[in-house]
Amino acid sequence: MTLVFNLTLFVLTAFLGYSIITKIPANLHTPLMSGSNAITGITLVGAVVVAGSGSSRLATAFGFLAVVMATVNVVGGYLVSHKMLNQFHKGSEA
């Protein structure tokens, strides 16, 4: 049953993601890519679960590495997107 529930989420969200991006100005392509890249850092949630559960030493080690990498993705991703958008605003006002 869990699998069917997960599949339902997957398919409906895929349609949502497909329809979310309609028309977008070319100068927002890279910031949007960067911003959605930060969202894929959601895997940090999974990394936290695995690293924190501590059931096996090897799994914890891989979990730790995953937490570091995913955190870099999340923190860096949002900051860089913000920086890009700031540049973009400066550019359009000048």
């Binding site: 911003g35 914890t60 999340v74 900051l79 860089v80």
Partner: protein, 292 residues
């Protein structure tokens, strides 16, 4: 440590998903883009925060150390980066995300094996882990090569060689076979490929990593922004796959959202740069795009 009830977590994940969706929508309009990025960041803070509070943390020190190290590196890179270097930095971040998904799926497989509750992996878990590992490893190595090309540390020309399509197909086939091995868990080679650390999975990551390198190395530097957009979509799918392994709705929703939206964005970017998507996807069957 007192843990939150399950329904609180699920509601928090739902709210986080709404914030991601609204944030992404806002990022498609110039006026609301900055706010959209902030909205999406709040969603992430909520999802991660509630997860940290929820789980009974056996090893909180490991977790906190990981979060601190990752934050320091992420902030350091993001603050120092020059405007012109941003695309390759996004590529590196994206690679890290894909790599993290592959590692999480692998760590979860190890937990399944060592917990001793099940003698063999459930098929859906093994399929999801194999998919996540394949896509995640392709994303990791592919993104690093793409970033390297943009940064000038990897040869920016499309590197072509005889039999390159054979190499790609072979690597892909090996990955699929190892994935099938994980699902079926046959007696064959059991002493080498099965065990507590699930060797078959890490071999799959190795083959997929080589595939990621082979795919991107044969694409010219000018196509790299599109390649990174495509790999961004892949890393979303890798996160969704890991969500299936962990039965985690936050990962499935956010991962799939970026997977689908990222694919559309890749198509739009291809159109605006006059590039053919299939050319980028398969590492340039036609030479004409390179000469444009």
């Amino acid at each position: 440590m007192e843990t939150l009830p399950e329904w609180v977590i699920q509601l928090a994940y739902l709210l986080a998903a709404v914030l991601f969706i609204q944030g992404m929508r806002d990022m498609t309009h110039p006026r609301t883009a900055t706010r959209g990025n902030f909205t999406s960041a709040m969603g992430m803070l909520l999802a991660v925060g509630v997860t940290v509070l929820w789980f009974e943390l056996v090893s909180p020190v490991v977790l906190i150390a990981g979060l601190v190290v990752g934050s320091v590196v992420g902030v350091g890179l993001a603050v120092r980066v020059e405007m012109t270097e941003m695309p390759q930095l996004v590529g590196v971040f994206n690679g890290f995300g894909g790599g993290a998904s592959a590692l999480v799926a692998g760590a979860e497989l190890i937990e399944f094996q060592t917990a001793g509750v099940v003698t063999s992996l459930p098929a859906e878990t093994a399929i999801a882990a194999a998919a996540s590992g394949l896509i995640g490893a392709v994303t990791f190595c592919g993104s690093l090569v793409a970033a390297g090309k943009l940064h000038g540390v990897v040869n920016g020309n499309a590197i072509r060689y005889t039999g390159e399509q054979v190499v790609k197909v072979a690597l892909f086939a090996i990955s699929i076979l190892l994935g099938a091995y994980l699902v079926v868990q046959p007696e064959l080679f059991a002493e080498y490929l099965q065990g507590e650390w699930v060797p078959a999975y890490w071999l799959l990551l190795g083959a997929a990593s080589l595939l990621g390198i082979a795919l991107v190395i044969s694409i010219g530097g000018a196509d790299m922004p599109v390649v990174i957009a495509l790999l961004n979509s892949y890393s979303g799918l890798a996160a969704a796959g890991t969500g299936f392994v962990l039965n985690n709705t936050a990962l499935i929703i956010a991962g799939t959202l970026v997977g689908a939206a990222g694919m559309i964005l890749t198509v739009i970017m291809c159109e605006s740069m006059n590039r053919s998507l299939s050319n980028v996807l398969f590492g340039g069957f036609g030479e004409e795009a390179d000469s444009e």
